[in-house]
Amino acid sequence: MRFLEDIIVKFGSVDRRVIFVLIGLAVLVPLLNPIDLAIRPTPSSQRVYDAVDSIPDNSKVLISFDYGPSTKPEIHPMTLGVMRHILSQDRGHKIYITCLWPDGLYMAKDALKIINEEYDLVEYEDYVLLGFRPGNEAVVKGLASDLRKVFTVDAAQKSINEIPMMEGVNNLNDFQFIFTGSAGYPGTFEWVQYGADPTGVPLSSGTTSIQVNEVMPYVQSGQLQGILAGMPGAAEYEKLIDTPGIAIQGMAAQSYGHVVIVLFIILGNLAYFITERRERKY
Amino acid sequence: MDNKRVVIYTVGILGIVIFTFILSQFHIFNSSRSFMFIVLLTVIMVLFNEIQNARKDSDSIFLRDIPGLKAVEEAVGRSTEMGRPILYVPGIMDMNEVETVAGVIILGHVAQMTAQYETGLDVPVARAIVMQAARESCKEAYLSQGRPEMFNEDMVHYISDDQFAYAAGVNGIMQRDKPAACLYMGKFYAESLLFAETGNGIGAIQIAGTASQAQIPFFVTACDYTLMGEEFFAASAYLSRKPELIGGVKTQDTVKLMLIGLIIVCLVMRALFDLDIVSFNLLDMIG
């Protein structure tokens, strides 16, 4: 027993790089030979799926790309999942894309490139990329009151009036559903405060794991129709629309990463209590 | 809330409701948001009243003691006994962040104590403007304790604007000088982990204060004491003795009580509605 205690305590003072190698391997190995783990959707992901499913036919859907490259692994599978879900039912939905983050523009172009390979979409008829506008919450407020003043041209600098699907679209009230893939500020908070609450348009959101708990009260109060929480949330959504993608592939690595961190916390605390008890003895 | 305030605020709210009712007769007023208008005017009324009270005599304003602040005094005492310096990290952001301003205010309080106990104080910063403000705050503290000779400019020194370079610099200081107490007061991002881990490694007392919600959980588990969110702002308001700041804290307290009252009223009214004792549901009327 004493021998075991010594190992745990000694491991605490080992060089930090050993711990780095351990967590690195715990994440890398399952990525190299993926193990298929059963995924169980949580109620908050299910609620997003139901919200998207219950959009009336031939609706106008606004998808906002409010994230950048550094949080792409968590959010990109979500926005792709929602777009696939909307298009796979071919119920005549039209997709309008805005970005509150400058690099959200590139995330949107990347997503459109992937989606175009799977569904033959016609730009300006099935989807329009309105692009990025700086100004954070001011942009959302502007969209709620007069979209045509915020976006006079789309991302390819084409005038709004020349785009057929923009007819009758003057502000957020003309949309039947909004989805924001959000990595921070501006993002879900601003869409709830200046987008969904003032207009009543149903809003769902996919956020990075770190932001999930701050946004969570909106879900219970009904201001948000469910939440996709981090990469696990994205994997659950991929399972719900059963098109396995990059999020599901990452779940094994995510699981082992968590197990290793939990073991570190438990071992670290054991070492702490052991040294504490030994000090109390002398 | 003493009953003088209860009377003022009840009369105030009645006045606001009447004023809003009059306004709602004009079509220029968006009456669908009248409830929000009433709430907004109430908060403004409470704000001006509490700042007025704080301006009259800010010493009479009561503030419960905050465990984190008491721990700071203990930490300074411990450092003095062990003859080792105190490390104070005022966050990595600039003076335009409210949390950095609060961090510099608390620094002034700590500097007063280190002047009194003649303990070493080391303040590495990540922004040039924060360096100036921190130096002013320390100089004032040492003067107020009558120890101008103990203050030297290099106590507060600039390391780097970049997040990880700053973290590496502070870690180097910790390992070299082995301070007995490390205080992290301000706005932090992921580098909070690096400070807390190195501080743990050298066995220092660690006290953190921040409103950055993503970092509070890490500080709570890694430090001995943490001033969490509002505690951090209340502590700095109290120490600054500025009527606007103290008034702000008292306003939030007062409005919080009113809101809890509103929750209970809504709960009761909803229960009555659900049990069909009452025909209308108050919740739908609230904007």
Partner: protein, 257 residues
């Protein structure tokens, strides 16, 4: 696979491994990658904000088709001319001029405008969505009879009671005008327990997010190690290990602590 994509992949791998090399120790590769990031991101932000806002929405209005300067230069972005837009232009230029020390007070007008507008938006936005809406949903459903007393998972009256008491006790923990002692002290102690569970959830989600981002980077490195990218990851890994090994042999690490 066009040459520019392969070259791009190799550069991406070099920069990724350069940043990761910081885990071994602070070294020239990390410093180069980090300073490239500093320079590139500054220029990237400037270019993106100019072309998406200043160019179409400011100059688009000042040099619109019907503007008095139309003879000089026309930029048709679907706006009509609006002379008021000289105000933001003036504030913007003052901000740029504030880089010079003696007149750095000039930035204050622009900052004041953004602080003013943000304060006006935030006051209503937070009061309505983050305070009042949350207050309304804390008046929970206890007697509507549509909920079972206890259910796991799913809503229940027991859950609603816990939410009601938890929210109020946690709110009272951050109440500063009364000493936390006696019965009231025990009530706020209950509040700190609810707060701790909430911080625990944030802790769990924060760790989850960071692992996901690491997965994203490893996915890229694995992708770029394929033959179609001429084994970019392996070449770069080899290069960095050799050079780094030699460099750290030259200047050994002073044993910290």
């Amino acid at each position: 696979m066009p040459f520019s994509t392969i070259l791009g992949a190799w550069i991406a791998v070099f920069l990724t491994l350069g940043i990761f090399s910081y885990l071994y120790r602070d070294n020239p590769f990390y410093k180069i990658a980090e300073h490239i990031f500093v320079g590139v991101s500054a220029a990237y932000w400037a270019a993106t904000f100019y072309w998406t806002q200043i160019y179409p929405n400011l100059f688009g209005r000042l040099f619109a088709v019907d503007s008095p300067f139309a003879s000089m230069y026309v930029l048709d972005k679907g706006h009509e001319y609006n002379g008021l837009y000289f105000f933001p232009l003036l504030l913007g230029i003052m901000m740029l001029l504030s880089i010079f020390k003696q007149i750095n007070w000039m930035a204050r007008w622009g900052i004041a405008y953004t602080v003013g507008i943000a304060a006006g938006l935030k006051t209503f936005g937070y009061l309505s969505s983050n305070v009042i809406s949350q207050i309304k949903s804390t008046a929970v459903d206890l007697f509507s009879g549509s909920l079972p007393f206890f259910a796991m998972p799913g809503d229940s009256i027991f859950n609603n009671i816990v939410i009601f008491i938890g929210t109020i006790s946690a709110l009272m923990y951050f109440y500063f005008s009364r000493e936390q002692s006696g019965l009231y002290g025990r009530f706020t102690r209950l509040g700190i327990y609810f707060l701790m569970i909430s911080f625990g959830a944030s802790f769990g989600f924060a760790v989850m997010g960071r692992i996901s981002l690491l997965i994203g980077r490893f996915n890229d490195l694995i992708l770029f190690s394929n033959p179609s990218y001429n084994y970019g990851t392996f070449w770069m890994l080899g290069l960095i290990i050799v050079v780094l090994g030699y460099w750290s042999f030259q200047n050994p690490e002073i044993k910290e602590g």
